[in-house]
């Protein structure tokens, strides 16, 4: 297996606003290797965005952030970097695609020149080459008449075209890790599939690492090599896409998959929402975060946080944080 290129461990992120303090990420981690697609799934508010973008310093202003743990990009410790070095890393090493292209692109700036600037600064091209590169990036992202679109403002493009432009912008610096944070949530259903296909194609052609944050289990099954399931700021289950999607162990993962229409898994019982709501991340209690919504809850669940335990002997580690199911179903653990 290739060594990870972006790797986060033991991450704790507390957010403070004047009104609330939230533990958005509670000792969680993930890693992704070149050429690999990691999907991060979980309900809205489970900490997917904060966990992935927080270590890069990409959380919105106006929130005080307290962040602990380790995060390495290409082996280098991100969290101890100078602000200037971290800025450079964000610009060149990482490419980010955001959820809503309409608000993520600056309404006052033309699209093309932003791409050209990235190519010039980070791919070392001359001004003229960079302009050509920008046009060909727009074309590659599936934007018709890219020469014309180069000089356009965001309001002159449709949502789908804008997300393609956003992808082109993310790629302009030739990043090694592409982070797509719910890249299709704000788009029409017909466009969603096209955008996912584009990300998949880029991933194949460039062999870069992709982190796909999504609620779309269908997208996960098509694109992902590995999946991490996040619940209330903690990783409930992680493993290869095949393991997690076809042999989920954690009750939350099973519930999540069961709530997806048409998704075939051994445990799918038709369309069913998981009853209840996630715990408030403002009050930290010991024990399993899923306890209040779990059918299988036992008293021990509420006293100790269940550790992530590696299952089976597969090459891609499958880890689950639920000792109850492991014991009840006699699942073989690693070692």
């Amino acid at each position: 297996m290739t060594a990870p290129i972006y790797e986060v461990e033991g991450l704790v992120i507390d957010l403070y606003t004047p009104s609330v303090s939230v533990r958005a990420v509670d000792v969680a981690g993930f890693h992704v290797a070149p050429g690999e697609t990691l999907a991060i799934v979980g309900e809205s508010g489970s900490g997917k965005t904060v966990m992935t973008l927080g270590p890069l310093g990409l959380l919105p202003e106006g929130v005080a952030v307290d962040l602990r743990g380790t995060a390495r990009a290409d082996g280098k410790d991100i969290l101890s970097m100078s602000p200037a070095d971290l800025s450079r890393l964000r610009g060149g090493f990482f490419g980010v695609i955001f959820q809503d292209p309409m608000s993520a692109l600056n309404p006052m700036l033309k699209i093309g020149p932003q791409l050209a600037r990235q190519a010039q600064l980070y791919a070392g091209l001359s001004a003229e080459e960079a302009r050509k590169e920008a046009v060909s990036l727009l074309a590659r992202s599936g934007i018709p008449d890219p020469e014309d679109r180069y000089g356009r403002y965001p309001h002159e493009l449709s949502g789908g075209m804008l997300q393609r432009a956003m992808i082109a912008l993310a790629l302009a610096a030739r990043p090694r890790v592409l982070i797509a944070d719910e890249p299709t949530t704000a788009l029409d259903a017909t466009v969603q599939a096209q955008i996912l296909a584009l990300i998949r194609q880029i991933q194949k052609e460039d062999g870069i690492a992709v982190i796909l944050i999504t609620h779309d289990i269908g997208a996960v099954s098509v694109l992902a090599d590995r999946v991490a399931v996040l619940y209330a700021g903690q990783v409930a289950e992680e493993g290869s896409a095949v393991d997690v999607l076809t042999a989920p162990v954690h009750p939350y993962t099973r519930g999540l998959l069961a709530s997806v229409p048409d998704f075939r898994s051994d445990h799918a019982t038709g369309t069913r929402e998981i009853p209840g709501i996630p715990p408030s991340q403002t009050q930290l209690e010991p024990g399993c975060r899923f306890a209040d919504r779990c059918d299988l809850v036992q008293s021990s669940c509420r006293t100790h946080r269940p550790p992530l335990v590696r299952l089976g002997a597969g090459p891609v580690p499958h880890r689950v944080a639920c000792p109850v199911v492991i014991a009840a179903e006699g699942i073989v653990t690693h070692d």
Partner: protein
């Protein structure tokens, strides 16, 4: 865009018409009869009722108000604003002498407002809650709540009387402009500094600012390259509004610093019940108000790509 432009211009013309009609009516309704004043000037104490009536008749003062307004408007459009009752000179001549002084006060003050407000607002946003931000916020609050006559008095006491750096009265050279410019700029600069600061902060919490960081920009670069263009629209509109209000400030500032501008003339016109002069100056103010606001509204529209280049359906 074109249609919006034409609508704004039409609205501005209408506004000027309505405002001049209103001031005409108010000035005419003010106590003190123009004919009596003229007669008094001409014949001193010897002015009698018959003379006053004759003058009123000659000037057409007995015609109905709309007729008189139409006549006045016709003259005004040809640049004839009548003869000042106080100085006996045509108002057009008074304007020619005094407008340059007022313009110098307003344009110097306007440049100062521009520089100060942007510098204060951006420095505050760069500091982002630091000492500089809090000090600048405090300064802006003080500046926006201190009356200009008080500012003028303080400046004169410190810089003219104590330090003797600049003259207390009249203008002679650039240094003598410093106090009037500072006085007239302080309030609008303070208001606009807050506009800059607040709108920069708003922009910095928008998703496009996060994209800016993701592009590898430092915080300062995100402020200057991504956030700053986004404040252009509210800034220009507010600047236009504040700049027009400076004409009110000019009345006080010209008086305090002994500048022979239109504002100082206006105060004298009121004191001497110079109705012709008052009406002429008020007309000038109305035209200034409406056209400057129009100009900045149009500039703000031009600065916004969404209005400049509306998406074709």
């Amino acid at each position: 865009m074109q249609r919006m432009f034409m609508r704004r211009v039409g609205l501005a013309l209408l506004l000027m018409l309505a405002a001049t009609a209103l001031t005409f009516w108010l000035v005419t309704a003010a106590p003190g009869n123009v004919a009596a004043l003229i007669a008094e000037r001409a014949a001193g104490a010897g002015a009698d009722g018959a003379m006053i009536a004759r003058i009123a008749d000659e000037l057409g003062l007995n015609d109905p108000l709309p007729v008189r307004y139409a006549r006045w408007l016709g003259d005004a459009l040809t640049g004839d604003f009548g003869i000042s009752l106080r100085t006996g000179k045509p108002m057009a001549e008074e304007f020619a002498e005094r407008i340059p002084m007022t313009l110098a006060l307003l344009s110097g003050g306007g440049v100062l407002v521009l520089v100060l407000s942007l510098a204060m607002g951006i420095a505050g946003a760069v500091s982002n809650g630091g000492v500089a931000d809090r000090v600048l916020h405090g300064l802006a609050l003080v500046g926006a709540s201190t009356p200009n006559f008080f500012v003028a008095a303080m400046l004169v006491i410190v810089f003219s009387v104590w330090l003797g750096w600049v003259p207390t009265f009249g203008v002679s050279g650039l240094s003598s402009w410093l106090l009037p410019w500072t006085t007239i700029a302080l309030f609008p600069a303070s208001v606009l500094a807050r506009v800059v600061r607040v709108n920069l902060q708003d922009s910095m919490s928008r998703p496009f600012a996060t994209t800016g960081f993701a592009k590898g920009l430092t915080r300062r670069a995100v402020l200057m390259r991504e956030a700053l263009p986004n404040i252009a629209i509210p800034y220009m509109t507010t600047f236009g509004a504040q700049f027009t209000l400076m004409i009110i400030g000019a009345i006080v500032v010209e008086r305090v610093f002994g500048l022979n501008g239109v504002g100082a003339f206006f105060i004298e016109a009121i004191r001497f019940r110079d109705f012709i002069g008052m009406q002429a100056v008020l007309t000038l103010f109305v035209v200034f108000f409406v056209s400057v606001n129009l100009l900045f509204d149009l500039l703000a529209m031009l600065a916004d790509p969404r209005l400049r280049r509306p998406r074709k359906a």
